[in-house]
Amino acid sequence: MKPKILKKRDSARFLDKLLREYEVFAPVKREDLVVFGRIHSGKEAFLDYMNSKMPPKEMLFPQLEILFTYTSIDDPSKIETPPSAGKPRLLFGTRPCDARNSLLLDKVFDGEQYKDTYYRDRRAPLVVVGIGCIQPCPTCFCTSVGGGPFSREGLDILLIDIGDDYVAQVVSDRGKKLLERRGLEDAGADKLSLVKKVIRDAEASMTSEVKIDGLAEKLAEIYDDPIWGLLTEKCLNCGVCTYLCPTCHCFDIVDEARDSGGKRIRIWDTCQFPLFTLQASGANPRPTNKERLRQRFMHKFKYFLDNYGQIGCVGCGRCVRECPVNVDIRQVLTVLSNRLEVAP
């Protein structure tokens, strides 16, 4: 299918049409924050944004999810799972980096041995329309981690902003189905050459670079290096970096009972909290900042790679921007990469 033209001034109307078929989630402005939320009118979508405060990870892995409810705590045979969603869902306007998270989350939640039914139920029908980044942020480093401002991975359609119009490139059959018969005209040669220019300019403007080659081996070498203690000294051990991360997938499972009934829920959890690994006996294999921050880096850049052949970072830069004490993942990785091997 040839790339189509979606005029910016028509985009709200275009979304209105899609709203008849889909539950649509798009970036919206809430005071100073840009977040992803369900929209009920195309006008609500705020597409001229840098990136959202939170990634749209919750489309696949919500912070709070009910696993099941029960009406009697005495009888596990009477548990009920929440009903599945009605209309298919459309995620509109996500950034390519954030869309790549599904490739990683798929490996975790839809693995060979175990399949997470909740994740699959959300993931399978989700249609994803991304908007390429014509103006990457200084904190973006997607190109260092296998992505790019116009990466198509995890997308069904990629929109490219060429000024007054978006050029819509079809990535998947599902994307094709969405674009078909919408009365959008094909993009002409002039528009397509603009696309090329926009892409070239954006890629050239990427300033941030992180060395990933050989990093996993280096991390294994310097696992016991005292540098970890120094790098983590200012870390507050809050959950900002992990809760704002598109790929972090750790969670906790808890019961919430009221009177005789209740529910079992899963909620995000993070390796940065001491409680995460604290055993009932009182033992904690990751007792301090040092072990916990090291776990975050090891998980993303070594363990994920060891287990699933990919690193667990899409380079969105949220942890860089939002860390209250400016622990900058790029700087830490650079220090680690340049670290000489320590004698065991």
Partner: protein
């Protein structure tokens, strides 16, 4: 496709208080539904998540052997919220179960080999399951000599006392019980498990050493099995980390890139030597 988070109902049939401090109990459970029981095929060393609705879930190794049909047992030490709730439950009450989970002991590779079991305290439960599996009349001939070193802090803290007596009477099994500190009634060995293992010095030839116990015991046992000549590939440990999902997803029980719940809990020492010492 089955939702791996949904617990199946089980009824508590029997509760045995194992230790004189009453902090460890063994629960015998039976399935509500026959098909659930048929689907629950496990091997020693695997574990399951037990649910007390309203309180939560916690992982426990199966303390019984699949060779003992109709009997599914878990030994529970009272420590946190779920275990306390379990301890307050009585026969007839219903709990949930998810499993079996984890890899379990590589029983096939044990065939024709001598087995040296070294266990301490509460960590003995899955070794007990394995022992009962090997002692089963259909299986006993598949294995060589079996030696069991098992200890607790005091005689009153030894688990499965009746069974230990029964094992003690068997000729096809070397049982070496010990306590850190004896009491008036105790006529057996006094000393820590690694010291007894060193003294008895079971041969490492054609043998596997299986170690499970508190961290301090493991720390002192590993040099002993090394001295006895067990190569790291033939030393197996069952690891314990905080777990939630049991499916390798929730991210907390990893040792390096291995998830104890999914890739373990049983690892060879050779495997562990390749991983960070973060446990």
């Amino acid at each position: 496709m089955r939702n791996p988070y949904l617990p199946l109902p089980m009824r508590i049939e029997r509760v045995v208080v194992e230790t004189d401090d009453r902090n460890i109990k063994t629960f015998s459970l039976s399935f509500f539904h026959e098909e659930d029981e048929a689907n629950f095929t496990y091997i020693p060393g695997q574990f399951a998540e037990l649910s007390v609705l309203g309180e939560g879930e916690a992982p426990f190794g199966m303390a019984s052997s699949p060779t003992q049909p109709g009997r599914l047992e878990f030994t529970v030490s009272k420590a946190g919220v779920v275990t306390t709730a379990l301890h307050n439950m009585e026969p007839g009450e219903i709990i949930g179960i998810r499993g079996p989970l984890g890899n379990g002991y590589p029983i096939e590779t044990f065939k024709g080999k001598n087995i040296v079991i070294i266990g301490g305290g509460f960590g003995f439960s899955t070794l007990r399951a394995l022992t009962n599996y090997m002692l089963d009349s259909h299986h006993r001939n598949s294995f060589g000599d079996i030696s069991i070193f098992y200890g607790a802090r005091s005689p009153g803290l030894l688990l499965y006392k009746d069974e230990l007596q029964e094992w003690g009477r068997r000729k096809d099994l070397g049982l070496y019980l010990t306590v850190d500190r004896g009491d008036n009634g105790w006529k057996g060995r006094v000393g820590v498990v690694p010291a007894i293992a060193k003294e008895v010095a079971p041969s490492a030839e054609n043998a596997y050493a299986l170690v499970c116990g508190p961290p301090i015991m493991i720390k002192f046992t590993l040099p002993v099995v090394h001295e006895l000549g067990f190569p790291p590939e033939r030393v197996l440990l069952s690891m314990e980390m905080k777990m939630k999902c049991g499916l390798g997803m929730c991210g907390r029980c990893n040792i390096g890139h291995k998830y104890v719940c999914r890739d373990g809990p049983v690892f060879t020492l050779a495997q562990l030597n390749q991983l960070p010492q973060e446990y």
